[in-house]
Each structure stands twice: as structure tokens, then as C-alpha cells.
């Protein structure tokens, strides 16, 4: 098996209109059209979707899990972004 492996694609499915696409898994394919066909045969045999996205895995830019705490740190100390931070005086309604 010295032939080159087909590239990997990540598969995203919209299960019905109104919902966003969600990651389902991955497939290998020689080109984009084949990736769509393989994704359909592999991940939607039971009407699981009304729309499919496939994207080459090596094109995805991802955050590094090792840097998770530093990367998301700017959000950590801003509790005033949450409505529960504010104290509402008694007697005030619809707020």
C-alpha cells in the first residue's frame, strides 16, 4: 500500500432547516465531489440531513488545547457581561 492516501474531509450536517450545520465525522475522498458523495453515503443513510458541508481537514484552523486557559482567559474575569451580575431593586419588573 504505497499509493498516497486520499485526503481527509470533515463532514457537517444540517439535520433540518432552521438548525445550523453540526460536525458528524470525517471521510476520505480524492476530490470535493467524491467527499460529498461519501459523506452522503456514510452519514445520511437515514435522512439525517437536508444539507451537507465537507471541508478538507487540513484547511481548518483550530485553537490549541494546550493553550486553552490562556486563550480564553480574557472572558474569565468579565462577570459583568452576565445579567446575573446586576442586582435588581425590589419592585422593578419586566427587566
Amino acid at each position: 500500500m504505497n499509493e498516497k492516501e486520499w485526503p481527509l474531509y470533515e463532514v457537517f450536517i444540517r439535520s433540518r432547516s432552521g438548525l445550523s450545520h453540526r460536525h458528524a465525522g470525517s471521510v476520505h475522498a480524492a476530490d470535493d465531489q467524491m467527499a460529498l458523495d461519501h459523506a452522503r453515503d456514510t452519514y445520511t443513510r437515514r435522512m439525517e440531513g437536508v444539507s451537507l458541508w465537507v471541508v478538507r481537514s487540513d484547511l481548518i484552523v483550530a485553537s490549541d488545547p494546550a493553550d486553552t486557559s490562556a486563550f480564553f482567559a480574557p472572558a474569565e474575569d468579565k462577570i459583568y457581561r452576565h445579567p446575573t451580575f446586576y442586582k435588581i431593586p425590589d419592585g422593578v419588573e419586566n427587566l
Binding site: 500500500m1 499509493e3 492516501e5 486520499w6 481527509l8 465525522g25 470525517s26 480524492a30 476530490d31 494546550a66
Partner: protein
Amino acid sequence: MYTQGLDQKGKVVQSSDASESADQLDAFQKRVDAEDKIEAKDWMPAAYRRTLLRQISQHAHSEIIGMQPEGNWLTRAPTLKRKAILLAKVQDEAGHGLYLYSAAETLGVSRDQMVADLLSGKAKYSSIFNYPTLTWADIGAIGWLVDGAAIMNQIPLCRCSYGPYARAMVRICKEESFHQRQGFDIMFELSRGNDEQKAMAQDALNRWWWPSLMMFGPNDSDSKHSAQSMAWKIKRFSNDELRQKFVDVTVPQAEFLGLRVPDDDLSINDKTGHYEFGDIDWQEFYDVLAGNGPCNRQRIEKRGQAQVDGAWVRDAARAYADKHATAAAA
């Protein structure tokens, strides 16, 4: 979709790599204990990675090899309806294999490498698929018993600590229940048929019962990897617990079919509410695992031939893709 006690191999997981500090291992175990899921790029002990890779790839190979005994009856299914159903089931097995190969690839081994390991005999698959499917009733028995045993194994795997494996298992379990019911449906129809059909169903049960019990792997006392896999929450129940559960739900189904489970020692314990069953012939299990089952060589030969036969298709697809990529760039 199928998994047996894939931890039965004699190889003991190597101790943690020297570079791993006690703090790292401790932090990892705390995450697992807190039911936090481990994702592909997260730090994990080398032994955890190896254990998962072995288990998931063996599981994937089992799905792919499992297509062969059932595919054997595609051209001889008794009706068009049965043929269409079996075709859908065999296609599902291929799909399950693909979900699992994808999950295993996230651990850093290529699909081609996994296939090469299967063909060279380095990687194993569930020993149940080394038994032949001699009659149509075997298709019923496989769905009912083999897929039934697989479901027992797989439902806890949906909560496995490794995210990609757990997600693949959720998808697989949803599809598995169709497989088991179609098997029972075949057995039910045969069991309500003429004498010859009933005998065929009984014969299939006779041959598949014990190998199905072996699918759960060795007894807990002989299971080498179990304790570590439980600590890592890859496994949630022991081999013997799952086997007992399977016997408890399946024996009444056999009674409903009017079939006899081929075990003279089988009886229900009124105090515990559990069935007690006879000893498993572990020598047979280890023989089949070692490559000496009825169909081991045939299964691997056929898989290897398919790889060779498909080479020109893969080459052509790649040539077509390259040509169009060049044309688009020009």
C-alpha cells in the same frame, strides 16, 4: 456493528512513557474521574492512546470483516424484501467501520496503516466472524444474537471517556437496534414455519449461542486490561457483567421462539433472578483468536483481494482529481 472484549489479547499495556510526569497522569485521571471527555488533541498518556487505538481499530476491522459472513447470503436471500433489508444492513456495517476508522485516525494513525495491520495479521477483529454462515437461519441468528451481544457491549461505550469514540458509538447504537430486530424477525418467521424451517432455526441457535457468549471476552479473572480500562472509563462494565445481562435478556426470547438454548446447565436462580449457565469452552475461543477458526484465512484473503481489486479505482479517482486540480489552477 460489533465489538467483543477487545481487551483479550495477551499483550500487557506498557507502562507509561518515561516522559510522562506523575502530575500529568494525575491531572488526566482527575479529568476522567470528573467525567470530562478527552478530545483528539488533548494531552493523554501514551498507554491510553495505545489502548484506545487497539480497541477502536479492532472494532472497525470487525465491522468490515463482519460484512463477509452476511454478504454470503445477499444473492440467496429468500425474498426480494429480505434481500433489500440484508443489503441495507451490510451497508450499515461498512458505515460503522468508517465511523470507527475516523475515530481511530484522530489518535494519529493513518487509515492505510490500520488496513495494512489487519491484512498482515498484526491487528485482530472479533473472532465471531470466523464462523461460517451455512444456512439462511444463520443470518437471523447473527442479527439476533451477535448484534444483540454487540449492543450490550456498545451501549456503555457511548459514555466512553474518549469523545470521538463515544460519538461514533452513539451513531452506531442508533442503527444497531434495526439489525437485532431484523435478525429476530427472521428467527421468528422460521420458528413459526414447517418442521424443516424450525430445525434450521434451532441448528443456527446451536452453532451461534456459545460463540456469542465468547464475544464478551474472557472471564473477569482472566481479563488482562480490564482494570486499567475501567479506571480510564473506556470500559464501564466487566465482561462477566455484560455476558450475564445478555443471557438474562436472551433466554426468554429463545423460549418465546420455542427454541432450546444448547446448554444443559442453564437454569434460572430464583433467589437472584439471574440465569446460571454452563462453562464456556475457552480453548475454542483462543484457537479461533489465534487464527485457527473455520474461516480465518478465507476472511483475510478476501479482504486482501478486495484491496487489490480496488486499486485501479483508487488510482483512477486520484488521476481524475489531479487532472481537474491542474486544469483549475491553469
